[in-house]
């Protein structure tokens, strides 16, 4: 019996390997839940992610960070499962789980041995509609989130600078607020705020379920129908359009904090891929980012760090995938004897070069090789693949864009790179923050107590 089966396996294996990059499949349940399934049979595991179309960019003033707070509360029990039960069940089934919140999404995930997928579906379906928000749990979790903010932002000079920078760069776009929320807002969340936020956004017709792994799509769809199918959809009010007003001149700020090194962060207002008429421009900006900072051979490393040796580090980046227009960022830490103003000059000179001269075919070839290999490497991780599909879908681009990426990058020409540099990397749309390091008080005054303070 076993022997007979083995031959079948041998026959089937090559089929699987050849078809390793099986296209994702999509199904939409009658309640509006979209399900995206991608098969990857290299390991007997599965990742399941539930993505909600809600994040900090959905939040009005006064309750910034509430999407993130709600993410924390989603582990605090439902009518059926008491607080902590979700995590206990997942752990007992060998799973890893967590959640993350961004500007445009809130997502929950589990990675499991593939036969445990129904457990994930049952629990996620339950907390999609039946969350139990308890005042006692909120009091404790508020403390936790405040600690999280201290750790991520308050005690990190560069993170804090970035927070202030965003608040300056955006006039009215909700991207001006930190994902974790402003401290005063965090301090004043009430259960009813969270309840309202939950009821407004947590519904099957505002969610995407992404499953990647050693599974069969039809079986996943059937299982999803069984668990998520009975959930009622919500009437979703469309989000108000908060189109960022046009910036009318360069903005600069100085952030003074106890720190040891100066630092500069610059950002030009640019469109993202979601603005459809700008699709080509978005890919050209992506390539431009690669020209400046797509590895050790890219311009910022080879020219500023190694060639001129004026920076200890320098970077550039652009998020292609976001719901609203964002910033093309550049940053640098000056080398000893150099200043943030030297960095500003040097970075602007690189921008000017991109406007004046066409990028070389060698540079473009390098980026294309990296994109091509990257598309293979990323398939090593189910989690990463699921992230990509979920994020594209949730910001409104559609998961199908994942397939376009390599082709679209390949189509970018030197002229297009020059064009977007000239059009978007302009002084009037520039924002700059300088970190002005203040002396640090502590040079480690130490108090030592020997013996058992902790042994009691």
């Amino acid at each position: 019996m076993k022997f007979q089966l083995l031959t079948i396996i041998m026959l089937m294996f090559p089929v699987f390997s050849q078809a390793a990059d099986i296209k994702p499949q999509e199904r939409v349940l009658s309640n509006g839940l979209k399900i995206i399934v991608k098969e990857d049979h290299r390991s007997p595991v599965v990742v399941s992610q539930v993505w909600y179309k809600v994040g900090s960019s959905y939040e009005p003033g006064g309750i910034t960070g509430i999407s993130h707070m709600l993410e924390h509360m989603m582990f605090k029990g439902t009518d059926k499962h008491p607080p902590g039960e979700f995590s206990r069940i997942i752990a007992e089934n060998g799973g890893n789980e967590n959640a993350f919140t961004g500007r445009d999404y809130t997502a929950y995930f589990q990675t499991l041995e593939k036969s445990r997928l129904p457990i994930s579906f049952e629990l996620e379906a339950d907390r999609m509609r039946n969350l139990h928000l308890l005042a006692d749990e909120l009091i404790k979790e508020l403390q936790v989130v405040t600690e999280e903010r201290r750790m991520r932002t308050d005690d990190k000079p560069r993170s804090k600078l970035q927070e202030h920078f965003n608040a300056m760069a955006y006039s009215n776009s909700p991207y001006k607020n930190p994902v974790i929320g402003w401290p005063a807002d965090i301090a004043s969340y009430k259960v009813k705020d969270l309840q309202a936020w939950y009821e407004r956004w947590y519904a099957p017709n505002n969610a995407t379920l992404v499953v990647v792994g050693d599974i069969v799509p039809e079986e996943v769809f059937k299982l999803a129908e069984q668990h998520f199918g009975p959930l009622k959809p919500s009437d979703l009010d469309p989000l108000k359009v908060q189109t960022e007003v046009k910036q009318l001149g360069v903005r600069r700020m100085t952030v003074k904090l106890p720190a040891t090194l100066p630092y500069i962060l610059m950002g030009y207002k640019v469109p993202s891929l979601t603005a459809l008429e700008n699709e080509k421009e978005a890919y050209a900006l992506e390539v431009l980012g690669g020209i400046l900072d797509g590895g050790n051979s890219a311009r910022l490393s080879s020219r500023l760090v190694r060639g001129q040796q004026i920076a200890v580090s320098a970077g550039a980046g652009y998020s292609l995938i976001s719901r609203l227009p964002g910033l093309f960022l550049l940053d640098a830490t000056p080398a000893k004897g150099k200043t943030v103003y030297d960095m500003e000059y040097a970075l602007k000179k690189e921008v000017a070069d991109l406007k004046r001269n066409l990028v070389t075919s060698k540079e473009l070839a390098r980026i294309k090789a990296q994109v091509l290999s990257g598309a293979i490497y990323e398939r090593d991780s189910n989690f990463y693949q699921a992230m990509q599909l979920g994020m594209l879908e949730t910001v409104g681009l559609g998961w199908q864009k994942a397939d376009d990426y390599v082709d679209k990058i390949n189509q970018v020409t030197p002229e297009q790179v020059q064009e977007v540099a000239r059009k978007y990397l302009i002084e009037n749309h520039l924002n700059i923050a300088y970190l002005d390091p203040q002396p640090m008080k502590n040079t480690a005054s130490r108090k030592v107590t020997k013996g058992g303070r902790h042994a009691n």
Binding site: H41, E147, S297, S302, D380, V448, H454
Partner: protein, 433 residues
């Protein structure tokens, strides 16, 4: 027909898959060990060359192991840093070099298409066997490293980790941070690097891990080729054992931050320790299992004192630290430290319950497939198995060993190995008032 077969097929697949991570091993003609796993489905390969040349080999030149790694791709043979970066990136390959306490490594992820692979491998081979250690590159990389060390002073967490490590390891070569200190890095010269390289980057002290879509013949050729020009040299003496601190210690450093970082622990376990699996499973219950561990529940779930609270054993060739850690608002530091130490004390006194042990085993065994479900993770495991001379079927043994752990063995092992009176506790942050 196919659909009917699927469930059966999956069952069998599950059973065979774990041992399907079949590790093969042999020696190159130079005497370096090779560890090879063939994986299909993606036309890529991960290669890792490893030396017993981590920061434990720094001697008094703290930071030299890391600085050597940093310098490797800044010039080799006839190529400068730009050439090297261009050679890798033009074929979409990703090169890395780094070091930990025990190990120094060079890693390469590349496509297996012949022309791309050949170019990437030749570049890695030059870096490995003909590094230039050019003085101009060195001055630049040294000042970048020094800037990094200065930047580190902004971080209360980093300061806590450095102070803690010194308290736990005393004069042992595990005590200092791998990146060194400003005073020690400033003194390092290119001649020092060349010596370090000459002594430790030798075939007798090397191993290679190959995981990916190369057949065995290709893997053999790759390993031979990469080590061909490396001098044979000799294996260094084993580093000394770690001794237990004689007294517990509590140390606070003032820092202008809103949170206090707390680290508490002592020398714990090593890679060939008979108690390793017992301690591993025990710690999983105590503080190693994320959202469901005892420490997480006591510190965060019950009291909201911190965002993260955990404990872990870091096993090295010699004993690495057993560490509990959290970060909390300055004015509740004493309270948090008390919860931390009390949770440990209770665990040592009472051990885990049967239910806790069963849950932990279910988590570890049920999640086993996820430990090796990508080439990256598999490469890490194989590298560990090779470096610490673990049996090739370690991944199977792992599960048996976990199964064999009992509540009594955990209680016994923690009692023998973790003496709370010897804890080294470091707090870095603002004052409590």
């Amino acid at each position: 027909m196919q659909i009917k077969l699927l469930p059966l097929f999956f069952l069998l697949f599950t059973q065979t898959c774990f041992s399907a991570a079949k590790i093969e091993s042999w020696n190159t003609s130079q005497g370096s060990r090779v560890y090879y796993v063939h994986t299909e489905g993606l036309p890529m390969v991960d290669i890792e060359v490893v030396f017993d040349a981590g920061s434990a080999r720094d001697g008094n030149q703290h930071g030299i192991s890391e600085l050597t790694s940093t310098m490797l791709d800044t010039g080799a043979g006839k190529w400068n840093a730009d050439d090297i970066a261009q050679r890798f990136e033009s074929v979409g390959a990703i090169f890395g070099a780094g070091s930990s306490k025990d190990r120094a490594w060079l890693s390469l992820r590349t496509l297996t298409q012949q022309d791309l692979f050949t170019k990437a491998l030749a570049t890695m081979q030059a870096i490995l066997t003909k590094p230039a250690f050019n003085p101009q590159d060195f001055e630049r990389e040294k000042s970048r490293t020094l800037a990094g060390l200065k930047h580190r002073e902004e971080s209360p967490g980093a300061l806590a980790a450095i102070t803690y490590s010194k308290a736990v390891f005393g004069d042992h070569p595990y005590a200092h941070p791998g990146s060194g200190f400003i005073e020690t890095v400033e003194k390092i010269t290119t001649a020092n690097l060349a010596n370090f390289y000459k002594q430790y980057y030798v075939a007798a002290n090397a191993m290679i891990v190959i995981v990916g879509d190369l057949n065995k013949q290709q893997a053999k050729q790759t390993a031979e080729k990469i080590f061909a020009d490396l001098s044979i040299g000799k294996k260094p003496e084993a580093i000394p054992t770690v001794s237990m601190p004689t007294k517990g210690k509590f140390q606070h450093l003032d820092f202008e931050s809103t949170q206090t970082h707390v680290l508490s622990g002592l020398p714990g376990t090593h890679r060939n320790d008979e108690d390793y699996f017992t301690l591993y499973v025990g710690n999983h219950i105590l503080g190693g299992s994320g959202l469901v561990s005892k420490l997480f529940k006591e510190v965060r779930e019950k009291r909201g004192l911190a965002y993260s609270a955990s404990s872990h054993f870091a096993p090295y060739f010699r004993k690495g630290a057993f560490t509990m850690g959290l970060q909390t608002r300055n004015d509740q530091t004493s309270k948090a430290v008390k919860v931390l130490t009390q949770t440990l004390q209770d665990f040592i006194d009472q051990g885990p319950t049967e239910a806790e042990l069963i849950a932990a085993k279910k988590n570890i065994k049920g999640g086993f497939a996820m430990r090796i479900d990508t080439n990256s993770k598999l490469t890490n495991y194989v590298s560990m198995i090779g470096f610490y001379n673990k049996p090739l079927n370690y991944l199977d043994i792992f599960q048996e060993k976990v199964e064999a752990v009992t509540t009594a063995s955990i209680k016994d092992a923690f009692k023998r190995r973790i003496n709370p009176k010897l804890l080294q506790t470091i707090t870095v942050g603002g004052s409590e008032k």
